[in-house]
């Protein structure tokens, strides 16, 4: 406690001294000082307790009043516990001056120490039979507080509903009472409080609600609405009607009152109406729809609070029928509103558009409009969402890319728009240049113009690093779609020495793609597959249809558990850390085959191909290319194992072993862009008459290779080719040497164990090049 910088704690003790004095003046000032300076955080607070106790029993009611007031404003829980008894006593006194103060003091005690509520219950018995409005008012407050805090009390006090209704009725019907009149209405404070208590009492109770129906209707129709008081009462009535189990006629009446409020000139009333409508829109949607046009007009109001409420309410009112009209209004609002609204409005528009879009084209148009007007305020995940939406609407590709291109020509400052646009141009640049578009006038764009725009993005100051990354990748993708590759090569090599590390890495990798891996380029830069979204806001699941662009490390969620592939794929995952990346499931390989393979390797010492390990090439361009995909691709990786329905990419299968009825076929997959990993699936089939049980397949490879064996589908090979056992082998072949393998097979046929070794040399060249 300081005054003008000097400690003034002496003031607190003076207050205590004043309170203890006998003179009324001193007490008055002392209590005032106490209320201002001695709140319960102060140490000397408790010292007041005794004084207050004495004063509560003082002969002068004003002193008692002072004590009650102080206790009721800032008594701590200890004080309340000590003095609750005194308060309760005073609650029963016949002196109305003290009674009303005691009631509010009791409210404070209950707020501080809820356990003491029962203590005040007997005193409440005849509180409502008082004539004095002050006591009535404070009693209603006390009852309200008790009912709110305890369901038992609530049930107990339900029987008071008829009494309350009667009091309210008297208030309305009685003539002019000079003492309590406010602009022609009799004691509005009491009326509102009673209405509120009725609301709490009638909330889930049919009988009580039934008993109040009449009086509510009466209040709603008879109250004067010219002044604020009348509207205050009407407002409370409407809230009560909406909350209890009222009959439908009454509810319609309530909504109509709110509709009338909306048309009122007074801004406060409009604000209040919008707030209540927002509360009721869930339950009485149709009734609120009727007032839609008024609500939309409120969007144009100058007042900030009203605009915000109107915006929230408008979003709540959007449904399939009115979505086009509403969106038009809301987009217009987005154009002209203050920055503080733009973010919320943009998110709201996206959500509504997603739920109720009448057509894909409309959806894309709407999103584009939002991006062009409020681009810097949209949420971060809107870019991937939009990209995903565009990819999925296949027929709209040409139209979309054309519109985005035109938008880019106008303005490159809105980053989300620029990112989406550059991604689309990268993907669908060929459609753009070919000029085919059914929906709109096709524009004539040459490849050079497109590249100009993209290079402009790269060089511009307005572009963030993320945007630059997008545009560089887009340029790269165009190398397969456009014919003029030299220009692209030049751009890519220039950025190989860029200061931005991210750009530099990408450029270097793309460069490498041009030089050493040119044969891979078309496959790598192919069109993106269609992505499926399972939930609006949840992690996206990907169904892998075309394995070209997927990262090499896809984790399965349930067995067979996929082990962590080797390091280049690791880097890939790190690069692509999205929001909901499934933590990599590290499982140890079933150790037996691996060690068995190791044993085999030792035994087969002559397999070593010699030669020092060549320096491994830079993590292939593949990670870089994949990393341009929007991060959400990795969110929630699919549970499907990598190898199920992936196109073999043209490597012919081969038979590795065929002896004694057991045939082992190898099929190859290039499921991953990493050309060093060959994924081989073995299919073991049995043409004998008996099943082969305990079938174990083991493999060994030369030292320069690395091998991973995943769990087999089963270890029984059914007879007569009725089924097959499959198992996946991954071979890492960094040095691109010819793939060789030794396999060992063990199984039990007709009770006798069989073991065999074989060497597999006839791997097709494509599997290891």
């Amino acid at each position: 406690m300081h005054m003008l910088g000097y400690p003034a704690h002496f003031g607190q003790l003076e207050c205590l001294k004043l309170i203890a004095s006998q003179k009324f003046t001193d007490k008055r000032i002392g209590y005032l000082g106490a209320m201002l300076l001695l709140d319960e955080r102060q140490d000397v607070h408790l010292l007041m307790t005794n004084c207050i106790k004495n004063d509560l029993n003082h002969s002068t009611q004003y002193v008692q009043g002072l004590a009650l007031c102080t206790l009721g404003c800032m008594g701590s829980s200890e004080m309340c516990r000590d003095l609750a008894g005194e308060v309760e006593k005073l609650l029963k006194t016949s002196n109305s001056y003290l009674r009303k103060k005691a009631a509010l003091c009791a409210v404070h005690v209950i707020r501080k120490v809820p356990e003491l509520m029962e203590m005040f219950l007997p005193a409440t018995k005849n509180l409502l039979s008082e004539k004095n409005h002050g006591v009535l008012h404070t009693s209603v407050v006390l009852l309200t507080e008790m009912c709110e805090r305890s369901p038992d009390m609530l049930a107990h006090f339900r029987k008071l509903v008829p009494q309350l209704v009667r009091i309210l009725k008297n208030l309305i019907m009685s003539g002019y009472s000079p003492e309590h009149d406010v602009s022609g209405i009799s004691d509005p404070f009491l009326q509102v409080r009673i209405l509120r208590l009725l609301r709490i009492l009638g909330r889930s109770d049919d009988d009580s609600s039934e008993a109040m129906n009449d009086i509510l209707a009466q209040v709603a129709t008879n109250t004067e609405t010219s002044k604020n008081v009348g509207n205050a009462i009407l407002y409370e009535t409407v809230l009560t009607i909406m909350d209890i189990k009222s009959e439908s006629g009454l509810r319609v009446l309530a909504i109509n009152i709110l509709g009338r409020f909306l048309l009122n000139n007074d801004k406060n009333i409009r604000y209040v109406a919008l707030t209540s409508l927002l509360k009721t829109v869930q339950t009485d949607h149709n009734a609120v729809q009727r007032h839609r046009s008024t609500i939309v007009d409120c969007l144009k109001d100058l007042d900030v609070s009203i605009k915000r409420r109107a915006m929230e309410l408008s979003f709540a009112l959007v449904n399939g029928n009115n979505v086009r009209g509403m969106m038009k209004e809301l987009l217009y609002f987005l154009d002209s509103c203050d920055p503080e609204f733009k973010a919320d409005c943009a998110s709201g528009v996206f959500l509504s558009a997603e739920k109720y879009a009448p057509s894909k084209r409309w959806h894309i148009d709407t999103i584009m409009r939002v991006l062009t007007t409020a681009g810097s305020y949209v949420r971060d995940d809107s870019v991937p969402n939009l990209i995903q939406l565009i990819t999925n609407s296949v027929e709209m590709h040409a139209y979309t890319v054309q519109r985005l291109y035109k938008a880019l020509l106008d303005d490159i400052s809105q980053q989300p728009l620029v990112q989406v646009a550059s991604w689309c141009i990268g993907e669908y640049g060929d459609l753009l240049v070919s000029g085919q578009c059914e929906e709109e006038e096709p524009i004539q764009v040459t490849e050079d113009e497109v590249l100009d725009v993209l290079e402009g993005l790269l060089a511009s100051n307005l572009s963030t690093p993320v945007t630059r990354g997008y545009s560089l990748t887009a340029i790269m993708k165009l190398s397969t779609r456009f014919s003029g590759v030299n220009r692209i090569k030049k751009v890519v090599s220039i950025y190989g020495s860029s200061i931005d590390v991210e750009l530099q890495q990408r450029a270097v990798e793309y460069n490498a793609l041009f030089k050493k891996y040119d044969h891979m380029r078309p496959a790598l830069l192919e069109r993106m597959p269609i992505m499926e979204k399972t939930a609006t806001n949840g992690p996206t699941e990907i169904v892998q249809t075309n394995g070209e662009m997927e990262p090499s490390a896809v984790e399965a969620k349930h067995p067979p558990p996929v082990s962590q592939p080797t390091s280049p794929a690791n880097d890939l995952l790190d690069l692509l850390s999205g929001n909901d990346v499934v933590p990599v499931i590290q499982t140890t390989l079933p150790s037996k085959p691996a060690s068995a393979g190791g044993d085999l390797l030792e035994l087969l010492g002559d397999i070593s191909l010699g030669g020092g390990p060549a320096p491994t090439p830079a993590p292939a361009p593949a990670p870089a290319v994949s990393s341009t995909q929007p991060a959400f691709l990795l969110d929630g990786l699919t549970s499907q194992p990598l190898f199920n329905d992936i196109a073999p990419a043209g490597i012919p299968p081969m038979t590795a072993y065929n002896k004694n009825g057991l045939k082992i076929d190898f099929t190859f997959e290039r499921a991953n862009p990493n050309p060093n990993i060959a994924v081989i699936t073995i299919h073991a089939s049995n043409s004998t008459e008996a099943d082969m049980t305990d079938f174990v397949f083991q493999a060994a490879v030369p030292k320069t290779f690395q091998l991973q064996l995943l769990s087999p589908s089963s270890n029984i090979v059914p007879a007569l080719n009725q089924g097959s056992v499959t198992q996946v082998i991954r071979v890492l072949n960094p040095q691109k040497q010819q793939l060789r393998m030794r396999i060992k097979l063990t199984y039990t046929l007709k009770g006798s164990p069989v073991q065999d070794l074989a060497e597999v040399n006839n791997f097709p060249p494509q599997s290891w090049q």
Binding site: M35, Y62, C73, K101, C105, E179, V229
Partner: protein
């Protein structure tokens, strides 16, 4: 219930503060600063309600003073406006054409009147006459502050 009531001038000087919940000094200062900034920045013809944290702020301007009341979310805003108006009326009746100077020089009286009208964040008396009579009686007690007390009957 009401959480706090603040009165401040057009220049942002605080004239009256009443807190109905225990709050630390530092919090109080912060709240005062926030309120004055928010309310003084409002356009003249905008609505009198603001949202702030989880409370509703009702403010009204009377001559050179802003009355700023914070209520909880389930309270009736329009009624809060009436409460502010009633308080101003009580002050007016007591001081006779109250102005800001009256409140500056007789701030303790303003607090006394407030305490007769509101306790613990709730209205205690809805009748103007009764409140006025109590204040007058207390004042008389103060004047007659010799060693003798005498009872003052309150009618009604």
């Amino acid at each position: 219930m009401m959480r706090f009531l603040l009165l401040f001038s057009r220049q942002g000087k605080l004239r009256l503060q009443k807190w109905f919940t225990p709050i630390s000094e530092r919090e109080k200062k912060k709240i005062i600063r926030d309120m004055t900034n928010m309310v003084l920045a409002r356009q003249p013809r905008s609505c009198n309600f603001l949202d702030w944290k989880d409370l509703k702020i009702i403010y009204k301007r009377y001559a050179s003073l802003y009355f700023c009341l914070a209520i909880e979310n389930q309270e009736n805003e329009l009624l809060a406006l009436e409460i502010i108006h009633r308080y101003v009326e009580l002050l007016d009746k007591y001081f006779g054409n109250v102005c800001e100077l009256d409140i500056i020089f007789n701030f303790e009286k303003a607090y006394f009147i407030l305490d007769e009208f509101i306790i613990g964040g709730e209205v205690q008396e809805t009748s103007k006459q009764i409140v006025n009579r109590s204040i007058e009686a207390s004042d008389m007690l103060q004047e007659d502050d010799s060693s003798e007390w005498y009872e003052v009957e309150l009618f009604g």
